[in-house]
């Protein structure tokens, strides 16, 4: 029953493994890490999805000029009348500074876009549709600019409007900030929970192993030496928990991928590909911050408990 091997390091002076409470700590921390990673991952997915669905939306808006019947069909056709009206509007837009491009949405394209919204029997060409102009501008204040432009256009086309396409997306954009704040708050709570868990575990262990801790202090061990044992243990727990949390996250992402695959075969894959940029650092930072916080909490707890006990 002799131990005939020389360890490179001294075997753990403080017997952490002997406590039942220690068995559950890696699972608790793993759950905390999993929630943190999932929250961060969801936030990233949401932001990436918003960018993906509406790329460059900040620089483009759509102007609608309602259909208007000509009162003089004998002299001019309806098509010519409409074309004249559109050209006048395009002239005003083109002369406006900061407008980069203005293009008329073709009838064919418009009908293609509208087709799914009507019944199969309905002929989209029978509808008197407005004309749509896509305007690309080079300005940061798109909202202000578009309203200003609209006022000039309304001098010749009083019923022209700026189309609020994808209104649901606007709602999500508004909610995104609130959601980000919520996730930030959740992450803060998660960090506090991790710190509290490791502090509680460290303190419990120190009280249970009081004899050994006291012996170490009597042998002349510094507080730092004792704290290092606990910091090392916290690091081991953190790595074990991280591995478990990552397995959980991969499984969750896999399930979500499988569900979205039914809706759009490439949607999730494209979003994941979009995630592979600097934003991924945020996801990597979360476990690093938790690990750092755990080690700091363990050290602070050891110092406080030692001062209290001895």
């Amino acid at each position: 029953m002799t131990q005939r091997t020389f360890f490179n390091n001294l075997p753990s002076t403080i017997p952490f493994e002997r406590e039942d409470t220690n068995r559950y700590v890696p699972w608790i921390i793993a759950f905390i890490m999993y929630i943190a990673l999932l929250a961060s991952f969801s936030a990233l997915i949401l932001l990436t999805a918003l960018d993906y669905w509406h790329p460059g939306s900040t620089k483009t808006f759509t102007l609608a000029i309602p259909f208007k019947k000509t009162s003089n069909l004998n002299k001019i056709t309806q098509e010519e009348y409409t074309e004249n009206r559109i050209n006048k509007v395009i002239n005003i837009i083109s002369e406006t500074p900061k407008v980069v491009q203005v293009s008329l949405l073709s009838e064919v394209e418009m009908h293609r876009l509208l087709k799914p919204w009507f019944s199969k029997k309905f002929n989209a060409y029978d509808v008197m549709l407005p004309s749509f102009l896509s305007i690309k501008v080079n300005t940061k204040d798109k909202a202000f600019f578009s309203q200003k432009l609209l006022l000039s256009i309304r001098t010749i086309e009083p019923k022209a409007t700026i189309i609020k396409i994808l209104s649901w997306q606007s709602i999500i954009e508004k909610c995104a900030l609130k959601l980000q704040l919520f996730i930030a708050g959740l992450l803060l709570l998660i960090l506090l929970a991790a710190a509290w868990t490791i502090t509680f575990t460290t303190r419990t262990n120190m009280l249970m192993q009081r004899d050994i801790i006291e012996l170490l202090t009597l042998l002349g061990a510094t507080d730092d030496f004792i704290a290092t044992r606990y910091k090392r243990k916290a690091l081991l727990i953190a790595f074990e928990s991280l591995a478990k949390a990552l397995i959980g996250l991969i499984l969750t992402v896999g399930i979500v991928w499988w569900i979205t695959y039914e809706v759009d075969q490439q949607l999730f894959g494209r979003i994941i590909l979009h995630l592979l940029n600097w934003k991924i650092i945020f996801l990597i930072l979360i476990p690093i911050i938790i690990i750092f916080l755990m080690m700091k909490s363990a050290k602070r707890c050891v110092f406080n408990t030692l001062e209290e006990l001895f």
Binding site: N9, L10, P11, L215, L218, G220, A221
Partner: protein
């Protein structure tokens, strides 16, 4: 930071110790210990010998009076200075207090390792000391596998590995037979010859009678000093105690 070398290593002035309100462990204890001396600290059980050693080892502070260690009042010692001072004072416990899940070699090495010394060097020194106390074949044994006497010798090796200036032993022979007791006292004498000041607390009056050593007798009311009387010399030690290896030269 340290006191003068000629000054007493330990100096108690009118020290009263009290754990519970109204109950004094001992009162008005005054004494001093000169460097390189060897003293027995005797007294009946429960009189406060262990408490007195704890006061010297800075584990507790006196209720009243002053304790000076290496010329410094223990009241003035900051918490961060304790490890440094404790590295100059070692304590041998009656119940050995070896860590059960660490082998004997590492138990001894731990006393140095906990002060930031390289582990390889700590183990080398620990091996040397274990040979000195006669445990050269038990490096990799765990404490529960050793006898009381062997454990006590390992505890002594751990206490002296840092080459302390002051060695305190709290009933070191309390849990061992006479043969091992003599062996342990012999080790203390060897250390004392090499310049370590030794204080051995015991209530075993038969043991103190065997040796020609000065003695502090502690009572609840104070301390009395009994100087050494040349009745017996260390030559009276048994042959067993002499079998201890003398390889160690600090």
């Amino acid at each position: 930071m340290t006191g003068k070398e000629s000054a007493p290593i330990v100096e108690f002035q009118h020290v009263t110790m009290r754990y519970v309100e109204g109950t004094d462990v001992f009162r008005q204890v005054s004494f001093s210990v000169e460097p390189n001396s060897f003293h027995f600290l005797t007294g009946t059980s429960g009189v406060g010998k262990s408490t007195l050693l704890k006061l010297i080892h800075l584990s507790v502070v006196p209720f009243t009076g002053s304790v000076r260690l290496f010329g410094r009042d223990t009241y003035d010692i900051a918490r961060w200075e304790l490890p440094l001072l404790r590295s100059r004072v070692s304590l041998v416990f009656q119940d050995f207090r070896l860590i059960d899940h660490i082998n004997i070699l590492d138990n001894v090495a731990l006393a140095l390792y906990s002060r930031g010394i390289d582990l390889k060097e700590c183990r080398s020194k620990a091996a040397e000391l274990l040979s000195w106390v006669g445990l050269e074949n038990s490096y990799f044994f765990f404490p529960p596998m050793l006898s009381g006497g062997e454990q006590q010798r390992a505890a002594i090796a751990r206490a002296v590995i840092s080459r302390p200036q002051l060695l305190l032993a709290d009933e070191p022979t309390g849990n061992v037979d006479d043969e091992n007791a003599e062996r342990i006292i012999y080790l203390f004498e060897e250390l004392n010859k090499r310049g370590t000041t030794v204080i051995v607390a015991t209530h075993n009056f038969d043991l103190t009678k065997k040796y020609n050593l000065p003695e502090y007798y502690l009572t609840n009311e104070g301390m009395t000093y009994k100087p050494a009387v040349p009745l017996k010399t260390p030559s009276s030690l048994s042959s067993t105690s002499r079998s201890v290896s003398r390889k160690y030269t600090p």
